[in-house]
Every structure is written in structure tokens, then in C-alpha cells.
């Protein structure tokens, strides 16, 4: 196990962060438990990546390599799967997240305008994080909350019947907090 985790950190040549192994990093321990619970099955890759993202916040290269080695999967296969699915993120996300639903019902009711207002206010595009790492702006295909369109998710909580002004107010509150 130890040699495997050492292997996992090998590609991170330029990084000066201390070596993360299941011994030193609790998050790897959590990941190990999930992998064991799935009996190291290769078809559990997506479940395991979900768990990894949950505990690490995003899928950093060493985590992907660790998962690949544990499941004995080709690296490119793991990378291919991790980048195929929109919900997996290979970049760290901001302290707060704002997801704008751009599904049909929300779009018809003006969520496109909300997105435009947010992009202007934050100076970033959907899928990006502000330079100060405070806010990540994302677009969702459909949250299935069409009855309360347009719907926005602020830090995991769905809010319905939103308007640009209301949303900007929430965002500004995040921005002003230090």
C-alpha cells in the first residue's frame, strides 16, 4: 500500500506540498474505506470518484492516480471517465458555489438573463471560479425544479423564482464577507 501511494505522488514533481498518503492524510483513509467497500471493483470507478470528490473537494491528479492504482485501471481510462462527466471537477472550486439552472423551463423564464448578470458582476464565465477563489459560477442542465423556475442553487440549497437583483444581492453578501 505504501509503495502505491508513493507512486501516486511521483508525478507531482514540482509540488512542494508534503507527501499525502493514507497514513498522513485522513481523506485518503476515507477513500480507502470506499474502495474496500466496493471490493476494489473496477466498475465502481464512478462511485469511488464521487466519494473522492466529496472528501477532497475536487479530483486532483494524485487522487486520480491513487484511485487508478488501487483499482488497477489504466491512468488514461480514469482520466477519460473523470473528464467525461460534468459533475467531476479537476480544478478546485471556490468557497461558495452558485449554480444557475439553464433548463428549458428556467430559460424560458429568464435564467439566461440571470446568468448574464452574474457573469458581468463576477467577471467570469460559467464553469469558472473568481480569481480570489471565493465564488464558483456554474450552469446546470436541469435541476428538475421546473415548477419554481427560474431556480438557482446557492451552496447546495435550491432557491426558486429568482430574479437577477435577488441573485446579485446574495452574491454581494458573499463577496463582502472576508
Amino acid at each position: 500500500m505504501q509503495s502505491l501511494t508513493a507512486e501516486a505522488t511521483k508525478t507531482q514533481k514540482s509540488q512542494s506540498t508534503p507527501k499525502k498518503t493514507s497514513e498522513t492524510d485522513k481523506r485518503f483513509k476515507t477513500l480507502d474505506i470506499t474502495i474496500k467497500r466496493n471490493h476494489y471493483r473496477q466498475d465502481a470507478l464512478i462511485e469511488i470518484l464521487h466519494k473522492a470528490q466529496e472528501s477532497f473537494g475536487y479530483l486532483e491528479p494524485e487522487v486520480l492516480e491513487y484511485v487508478a492504482r488501487q483499482l488497477k485501471l489504466p491512468l488514461s481510462r480514469v482520466y477519460g471517465v473523470a473528464t467525461f462527466y460534468h459533475l467531476f471537477s479537476l480544478k478546485p472550486s471556490g468557497a461558495h458555489s452558485c449554480v444557475v439552472c439553464l433548463g428549458t423551463a428556467c430559460y424560458v423564464k429568464g435564467s439566461g438573463k440571470i446568468m448574464a448578470a452574474l457573469e458581468e458582476e463576477l467577471g467570469i464565465k460559467a464553469g469558472e471560479t473568481t480569481p480570489d477563489d471565493k465564488i464558483s459560477l456554474m450552469a446546470a442542465r436541469c435541476l428538475g425544479a421546473c415548477g419554481i423556475a427560474p431556480a438557482i442553487v446557492f451552496d447546495g440549497t435550491v432557491a426558486g423564482k429568482q430574479e437577477p437583483e435577488m441573485v446579485l444581492e446574495r452574491i454581494k453578501a458573499w463577496q463582502s464577507k472576508t
Partner: protein, 537 residues
């Protein structure tokens, strides 16, 4: 667990239930409007009022009228309250004891409700989805018992065949035929998959079923497992539906505890276990072969059919794959019989269909209607029409469907009629558009969606959607010529006819249907002289 036990649980539960049941929606829509605090305050009010011996508050699934949430409904009087706030919620309890209820009183006799026919959503909004006992109290799992002890697998398959049920995920393939194919396949290991990867923007029927009545789906899957000879089921739910996942997990646990799922179900030789698989944000995984790839832990790339999953599906084994709503129809059909089901709907489309009625419409929400009802009845009577405006078009079938113009509102809602007018039943999204909606923009909206969701495996879908999107943008920017318009049409047919899977095959539908019904809107954006049509190299 045997028949007597099942009845005992039902009886105990019926006795336990209080005479007045206050149902408070705790599903995603109402939850976003603070319904959890409403429920908390209702609970507190019951405790304070001392009515606890005859009143209980139950967190339930979706009542359908999502646009007016949070909703609270009181039985047996069938009082409906809309847009309830945590502040005025206690007055609902006070009203049970002579006080006056402050929240807006809804009209439970409104056509939005009265024109519905509930088979799948029969207990939705009435039972607590987190307690299996409530499901059993309304007759739950009796169909499974009946199938196991009174019917052979062949009889179950033939009953589903006779019912005329067709796939509710969009394609409309006869369910009985699919089951018969899997049942006839040789091989010891077979699988049942429930497709809960509801990805059409503007559709949330399956989410609502899973959140509101998860056991109904589990029961349907177990019956299917018995019928086709599978002992293992997977239910694939998109990660965007955390509440549905949580409630399914709970439901599976409870069913296992009672011996209704797992080994030797109802003490019969039949074993059936169900695992949940969570998607990770890929619309294409709603396509059955892509979904199977995803369950196997791979990229969700569709693979050519044949072989169909019924012959060679999950891990190469014969696999039955049906949608959530299809499975939710199974237990009622087994309970009431195929003849009853056949009496509902039209000649070739039996039963009911759930639609998510959204967009520019007064009454937003979920409705379950008998097949054959017209779009006009749905939009004008049930939906109450467009607020301050007129209907221009109704979009059905999501990115795979088409836009039906107002002039065709008398089209009956069934598989064949919707196909005939260039749209499709789809999974049940129904988005109403008013006169202000620009149809070319709508076409581009869906093309943007498909461009972003194509897996990229086959050439026409990967590159064709990009070119179609730029052609639509060019038209919207008033830079296009007639040649571009012709190109748009030619390329649409090419992508439709040559793509590998349903996503690509149906991606041009919104373009083709708007070209067919709203050509004027395209022509108005076209440059008359072809000065701009110089070859773009």
C-alpha cells in the same frame, strides 16, 4: 414475511394513522420554498394545540402544483393550502379546531386536479415516502406477492403484454415485448435496470415519482425481475437528484428489513436485490447503451444496437431496461389486471402519462393524464393558459422532441399523434411558449444543449451539432443567406439519419419542427441578396 404478515403491517399502520392527516410537501420544489420549516411549525402547532391524538402531520412527496408551493393538504376534508409560510402554517392546525386558516386556499376541484387520472401518482402526496408501512397500508407489495404466488413468470410477462403498456422514457417500445425477449434469452445471469437518468431539461416526472413513492418503483422492478428471471437490479439515478437518492436508499433498506427485497422474498425461492448507481452529469447516459456503460464504470459512450440490451446488456448479460414511470405502472397493472389498463387511453397508447407542465403557463407543475387527452385541454383548461398572452407553441419531448404550433393544439396526446406532428412523447416535458418567444432562438437553445451533451463518439453528432449551432447563430445574427438555410436543413437530415444513438438522431428535431411550423421566423432573419454568401473558407 408472508401474506398474513403483510396484511398485519397494513392493519397496524391503518390503526396507527390519525383521523386527520395534514400532508405537507417535502419534495424538491416545495423544499426550495422553505417547506421544511412549514412542516416543523405544523408539527409544533399540533403539539401545542393538544390535538395530537387525532391529528398528524406527514411529510409527503410531490402534489404536483409546484408553482404554488409550499403546499399543504388536509384529509379527509381535502382542503388545499398554497404558498404556505412558516408563519401562517400554524393557523392551518388552529382551523381544525374552529380557528381560521390564513394561507391561500387552493381549489382542489380545479381542472388542474380534476382532469387528472392518477395511476402512478395515486398515492403521491398522501403517503410518507420514508415509511414503508404507509406504502403497505395502501396495498403496497401485494402485487409482488400476487405475482410470486399466483402467477408464473410467463403469466406476468403476458399480462404486461396484454396491458398495452409502452415505454415511458420516450421511445414507446411495447414493454411486454421487451420483457418477453429478456425472459426468453438463455443464460443464468440477467439484470433489470431502472433508468432514472431523467435529463430532459424541463422534465421532472421521474424525480417526483422517486421522491414521492419510491416503493412503487422498487415493487415494479422486483416483479420484472421475477418475470424475466433476473435476481439483480440496478437503479440509475442522476446525481442532481439527491433527495430521490436518499429516499431510495431508505426505501431499499426498509424493504430488505421486511424480507421484501433480498433473498427468498416472501419466503419464496425468488431472490432479488437492488443497487443504486449514481450518475455524474451526462445527459447521454439516459440512452440505454450509454447508461449500461456508465454502470460498468466507463465513459457514457453509446454502443451500436443490435445487439440490444435485451440480448446482451450489462456485462454482456441479457438486461431489461425500463424507465422509472414504466416500472411504476407495473404494480397497478398486476393488481387491477390488464383488462382494466387497456380500458384507459387510446387504441395504441394505453394508460396514463405524467407531464411536467412548465414555461409560460399559469399553472405550473406535474399532471398525470389519460392518453388521448388533447394538448388544448392540458394547456388551456388544466394549465390555465398563458398569463397575459397567447400560446404560440408547445414543446414536448425535450431536446429530442419538437415544437407543436398553437394551431395543432387539438392534437391528442399519444405516441403516434405526437410523432405525426413532428414531435414525440418523450419522457414528459411540456414547455409552453408564448407569442414573445423567438422560435429560432428556441431551436438554438436545444442545439446548444445537444452540442454540449454529445459524447463525441460519432462524427455527425459531434461535429454536426456544432455546425448546426453556428448556422443557427448566423441566422439569428441576420448574417445568413438562403443557402445557409438550405444547408441547415440538409445537415439536419444528415445528422438525423447517420448518428449512432438517439441523442444525435433526435438532436435536429427542434430545428426541423420549427422550420416546418415557423418558416416565416427563419425567413425574416435571412439576407435577401446573397452578397454575404461568398464561400467562407
Amino acid at each position: 414475511m408472508d401474506w398474513t404478515n403483510l396484511l398485519e403491517i397494513a392493519e397496524t399502520e391503518q390503526k396507527r394513522q390519525k383521523s386527520i392527516r395534514v400532508h405537507c410537501c417535502t419534495s424538491t420544489g416545495c423544499r426550495a420554498a422553505n417547506s421544511l420549516s412549514v412542516k416543523q411549525n405544523l408539527d409544533n402547532a399540533v403539539a401545542e394545540s393538544g390535538l395530537g391524538d387525532r391529528v398528524e402531520v406527514i411529510g409527503v412527496g410531490c402534489m404536483g402544483f409546484c408553482g404554488r408551493g409550499p403546499l399543504v393538504q388536509v384529509d379527509p376534508e381535502d382542503l388545499l393550502y398554497e404558498e404556505v409560510t412558516p408563519e401562517n402554517a400554524p393557523s392551518i392546525i388552529e382551523a381544525l379546531d374552529g380557528g381560521e386558516a390564513k394561507p391561500i386556499k387552493g381549489d382542489s376541484q380545479h381542472p388542474f386536479f380534476s382532469r387528472q387520472m392518477k395511476i402512478v401518482r395515486q398515492h403521491t402526496g398522501k403517503v410518507d415516502p420514508e415509511r414503508i408501512e404507509e406504502y403497505i397500508a395502501v396495498g403496497g407489495y401485494q402485487s409482488l406477492y400476487k405475482a410470486l404466488y399466483e402467477m408464473t413468470p410467463e403469466q406476468v410477462v403476458s399480462e404486461i403484454g396484454k396491458s398495452g403498456l409502452r415505454g415511458r422514457g420516450g421511445g414507446g417500445y411495447p414493454t411486454g415485448l421487451k420483457w418477453a425477449t429478456v425472459a426468453k434469452m438463455p443464460g443464468k445471469q440477467k439484470y433489470v435496470i431502472c433508468n432514472g437518468d431523467e435529463g430532459d431539461p424541463g422534465a421532472f416526472m421521474d424525480r417526483s415519482v422517486l421522491e414521492s413513492d419510491p416503493h412503487l418503483v422498487l415493487e415494479g422492478m422486483a416483479i420484472a425481475g421475477y418475470a424475466v428471471g433476473a435476481d439483480h437490479g440496478y437503479i440509475y439515478v442522476r446525481a442532481e437528484y439527491p433527495l430521490a437518492i436518499q429516499r431510495l436508499q431508505k426505501a431499499i433498506q426498509q424493504a430488505k428489513k421486511y424480507g421484501i427485497l433480498g433473498s427468498q422474498i416472501f419466503e419464496s425461492p425468488f431472490d432479488f436485490k437492488i443497487d443504486i448507481r449514481i450518475g455524474a452529469g451526462a445527459f447521454v447516459c439516459g440512452e440505454e447503451t450509454a447508461l449500461i456503460q456508465s454502470i460498468e464504470g466507463k465513459r457514457g459512450n453509446p454502443v451500436p444496437r443490435p445487439p440490444y440490451p435485451a440480448e446482451s446488456g450489462l456485462w454482456g448479460c441479457p438486461t431489461l431496461i425500463n424507465n422509472v414511470e414504466t416500472f411504476a405502472n407495473i404494480a397497478p397493472i398486476i393488481r387491477e389486471g390488464a383488462e382494466w389498463y387497456v380500458s384507459i387511453g387510446t387504441k395504441n397508447s394505453k394508460g396514463t402519462k405524467i407531464f411536467a407542465l412548465t414555461g409560460k403557463i399559469r399553472n405550473n407543475g406535474l399532471i398525470e393524464v389519460p392518453m388521448g387527452i388533447t394538448l388544448r385541454e392540458i394547456v388551456e383548461e388544466m394549465g390555465g393558459g398563458v398569463p397575459n398572452g397567447e400560446v404560440k407553441a408547445v414543446q414536448t419531448g425535450g431536446p429530442s422532441g419538437g415544437c407543436i404550433p398553437a394551431s395543432l393544439l387539438d392534437t391528442p396526446v399519444d405516441y403516434d399523434s405526437l410523432n405525426k406532428v413532428g414531435s414525440m412523447m418523450g419522457s414528459g416535458g411540456m414547455v409552453v411558449m408564448d407569442r414573445e418567444t423567438n422560435m429560432v432562438e428556441v431551436a438554438r437553445f436545444y442545439m446548444e444543449f445537444c452540442r454540449g451533451e454529445t459524447c463525441g463518439k460519432c462524427v455527425p453528432c459531434r461535429t454536426g451539432t456544432v455546425q448546426l449551432y453556428s448556422l443557427l447563430t448566423k441566422i439569428l445574427n441576420k448574417q445568413a443567406t438562403k443557402t445557409d438555410l438550405e444547408k441547415l436543413e440538409t445537415l439536419s437530415y444528415m445528422v438525423k439519419e447517420t448518428s449512432l444513438c438517439g441523442l444525435g438522431i433526435s438532436a435536429p428535431n427542434p430545428v426541423l419542427s420549427t422550420l416546418r411550423y415557423f418558416p416565416q421566423e427563419y425567413l425574416e432573419l435571412i439576407q435577401e441578396d446573397s452578397l454575404n454568401s461568398k464561400v467562407t473558407v
